[in-house]
């Protein structure tokens, strides 16, 4: 399929009115054509089968099969090498193949998310109700996406296909009073297309019990939360050439650690996007995005809702692409972002920063075997006048149909955040976490190689990567500034160089008898860095597990015209991991000890019954072998046994 055909098919899919409801495609379509269009690897539409940058795709159908509520549920069930653990005071932390939340850029339709807690975005705000598919690109992508894309990019693509009228209502109930309710309403008339999703989910706190004498920190309470998520998207398609989209969203989460002072998290988001495609050779995309993430404490006794954190990001983006007659593509773009941070623990409480970037990329189809993409980007950050020039080169070699060999070199970087520069936080009298205005950007050199092959019902992908990371930004070793200090200081530092390497292998199959299977294995070698003087540092996070696997198999069968079933089994395995931790956090001269965190495996069984085209009833047995960790260490699975979940989904528009 040529690029012009891709653009045409994308346009048609977005403008064709009267199209039936989104019919999600599996990762491997029946015909094994891999004809899903992806955009993340090159910021231009490419076929998954022949994008020069290996892209992992999670389709709407994959998401539906996971029965996921948010991004965290999806990633940990499908992607090997992904682990969600706790940091410090039970804040959720993601480790994605050796890269933490600050080094994996998470985007929604190409837009960044405001707000962080312990370096991670709030994963609960990324609900799956309006998601069309998720694209994951591993490896440095700063040449296209700038700061934070050092380990890769996770791009959540929302639903955009018009639908005359579709209304879905769904609910799910589980252990610990878990309740989930969803509404998705899509309406299209003339040139207008509207999508509204509302999601409400909640679960209670529950206590877990640890064995005697834990060797390191354990948790005793797993905190539930209560979430509201509203998303509205309105698209106006003037004609095949011009489309305007406006969106707005509101997110609210409450978490109760202390009964009288619930913690509240809110997000307000909005955006405008205009896409002008005057012909098949040119395309201009202009967008504005607003995202505000707030944290507050509600004092129940005095009924005061006191905000202590607000991050506001205003972004303008411009992207122009030109396709030459020989299918080569030139992309140029520029972005501007104003970053506002209010934090009561920030020196001066408020800090602001403007950032600007410009980039260019050339996609060169040398011949029918070779395609090479080169990109260069310049980034500037006003605070500290930091600037970076970041290159990336990717090549794809296709010696035979359905066999792709991909190689890439890319540079990634992460500019120090305002928090890392100006933080001043007394952490419960343990130490003062101290910002460092002279931090230098963290830089990574990434090498990637992959091979993927599709034959008949089968698809195989093998990839390997190596990242050399310089000046990693993290907290260092605690120290006393003066002998009279009561509390030690824990400064942000640039650490010594280190390497993260690994690989992944995935085999997928889909047979015509309704059977689908996927098995993925990931190897990650992450050795935590030391400081510039080779001293061990206070690592806030547990390193990645070396081996991990995820697997899925399901059998789908339509028994009668109005009755079908899908039986699925999911499993994930994470190997044990060792971590070096201080014997005494207050006297690091006592050295470090090795902490062994055990391996675990979890399995989930699901049965979905389809009654007519409109109703689905699901019964899910999560953790079917009733696994209970002996010790709830910070990286243990958040389960206290088998969880039976019962759900129902009704497509109201298909009832009649």
């Amino acid at each position: 399929m040529t690029r012009k055909t891709i653009i045409l098919s994308v346009l048609l899919s977005l403008t064709f009115e009267g199209m039936s409801a989104d019919v999600p495609n599996d990762s491997i379509p029946q015909t094994i054509e891999l004809d899903q269009v992806v955009v993340t690897g090159t910021r231009t539409p490419k076929l998954l089968a022949n994008t020069p940058v290996l892209t992992k795709l999670i389709t709407a159908n994959d998401i539906m099969k996971t029965d996921a509520t948010n991004l965290r549920d999806v990633l940990q069930q499908i992607i090997p090498g992904v682990e969600f653990s706790y940091a410090m005071n039970q804040q959720v932390h993601m480790n994605f193949s050796g890269f933490g939340g600050q080094s994996m850029l998470i985007l929604v339709d190409g837009e960044r998310l405001a707000g962080e807690t312990m370096d991670d975005v709030d994963f609960t705000r990324i609900g799956m109700e309006n998601v069309d598919h998720i694209e994951i690109v591993k490896g440095a992508a700063s040449a296209l996406y700038g700061s934070n894309a050092a380990g890769g990019v996770i791009n959540i693509i929302t639903k955009k296909k018009p639908n005359p009228c579709a209304l879905n209502l769904n609910m799910r109930f589980g252990r610990h009073h878990e309740q989930r309710y969803g509404l998705s309403w899509q309406y299209a008339r003339g040139k207008w297309n509207n999508l509204l999703t509302v999601n409400r989910n909640s679960s209670n706190n529950f206590n877990v019990h640890n064995g005697p004498n834990p060797i390191t920190r354990v948790v005793s309470t797993i905190y539930g939360d209560a979430v509201w998520n509203f998303k509205e998207q309105l698209t106006y398609t003037l004609n095949e050439k011009l489309r305007l989209t406006g969106r707005a969203g509101y997110f609210y989460r409450q978490l109760v650690r202390t009964e009288e002072v619930p913690e509240r998290y809110r997000d307000f988001t909005g955006g405008l996007r205009g896409t002008w495609t005057p012909d098949l050779f040119n395309s201009v995309d202009l967008s504005y995005a607003f995202d505000q993430y707030d944290k507050s404490d509600y004092q129940r006794i005095t009924r005061l809702d006191i905000r202590d954190y607000s991050n506001v990001q205003n972004s303008l983006r411009l992207l122009y692409t030109h396709t030459f007659e020989n299918e080569n593509v030139l992309s140029v773009g520029a972005d501007y972002m104003h970053d506002y941070l209010f934090n009561t623990n920030l020196e001066g409480r408020v800090r602001k920063q403007d950032s600007f970037d410009a980039f260019a990329q050339y996609d060169w189809n040398i011949n029918k075997y070779w395609e090479v993409v080169g990109a260069l980007r310049y980034d500037y950050f006003s605070d500290g006048h930091i600037s970076r020039l970041t290159p990336k080169v990717s090549a794809r070699y296709q010696p035979i149909r359905n066999l792709n060999v991909r190689l890439s070199y890319g540079m990634g970087f992460r500019a120090p955040t305002l928090k890392e520069k100006y933080y001043n936080f007394d952490m419960s009298g343990i130490w003062v976490v101290e910002g460092n205005p002279s931090l230098r950007p963290e830089v990574s050199q990434n090498f990637n190689a992959s091979v993927d092959y599709t034959k008949g019902h089968y698809n195989f992908t093998v990839s390997a990567y190596c990242n050399k990371i310089e000046n990693k930004i993290a907290t260092g070793a605690p120290y006393y500034k003066s002998p009279s200090d009561i509390m030690p200081h824990l400064p942000y530092l640039n650490l010594n160089n280190y390497t993260v390497s690994g690989g992944e292998a995935t085999a997928q199959a889909r047979w015509t008898n309704g059977l689908t299977a996927r098995l993925s294995y990931a190897y990650t070698n992450e050795r935590l860095p030391k400081d510039k003087n080779s001293n061990a540092v206070n690592n806030q996070y547990i390193p990645a597990r070396k081996h991990s696997m995820t697997g899925h198999v399901d059998w789908d069968h339509q028994w009668l015209k109005n009755y079908g079933t899908n039986i699925g089994l999911d499993g994930r395995f994470l190997s044990a991991v060792d971590n070096e931790e201080f014997v005494d956090y207050y006297d690091i001269s006592k050295g470090i000890k090795n902490i062994h965190y055990p391996a675990y495996a979890l399995f989930k069984l699901s049965l979905v019954q389809r009654i007519s085209k409109a109703v689905k009833v699901s019964v899910v047995l999560d953790n079917i072998f009733n696994y209970k960790p002996e010790y709830y260490y910070l990286n243990c699975p958040l389960t206290d046994g088998t969880n039976l979940m019962i759900g129902m989904s009704v497509d109201v528009d298909k009832l009649f």
Binding site: R257, L286, Y288
Partner: protein
Amino acid sequence: MHRVFRPISILAGCAIMMLVTACNGIFDDIYDEASASSSVTTEGQLLVNAASWKDWYYVDFDSLQMYIERKDTAGLLKAQTNFTHYAIPTSLSSGSGDGKTGMYTYWFDVFGKGISVNEKRGFTATDAQPEPQSWSIAFHRNNVRTNGGAVLETKYTSLNELPKNSSYFLGATFQEDEWTENEVWEDQSQMLMSLIGCQGIRINKVLSSWLKIDIPPMPPAFTMNKHVFIVRLKNGKYAALQLENYIGTDGTKCWLTINYKYPY
């Protein structure tokens, strides 16, 4: 072309307008402002910032009563907010001590069965706790001491519900202060090792029960008891006390708002 550029210009206009107006965020009004300084505005209420691990804050009801008798409302309101505080001694200035007064290091099973499981790990003799000449009760976070007094917990949850005077409670059993060496947490510098330096001192466990701290969970769970407590002072007078709130306007825990009636 006009049809094309008009929507684009509207889009750009809206974007610029939103960008300018929303630089520092929107919907500020849904939040409340934490007041910079806290003070009480009514007679009969104490506001004690007892959040410090290292100090005792002293209240003298007789001194407060003198403001009322002088009808010095401004002075009373100020006195109900500002209190004499004395640091907990951490060393011995002379001699070898009595072998009991001092700092006790305890290990608490913070991450296991909870802080009710603990072991003594060390002792350092210190000076005795300094205190003012005249005082009624003293506060240190969730700990309360009386100056030779005793305390009774009632079933009442409002001072207005109380019987007319303290004679109603004459037959009741009042609890005196008791010696403790693992309750008054002074040194949190080894907290990550589950080691806490505790002051050995007498506290009133009945009155201290108005604010209970449990670990786990982490952060600690605070449980407030809103019952009214009757304090029988050393001078034979009675005071009625009720903990109204333990959180300051900035979220600081152990910032105590206390309703009181004295003499009662």
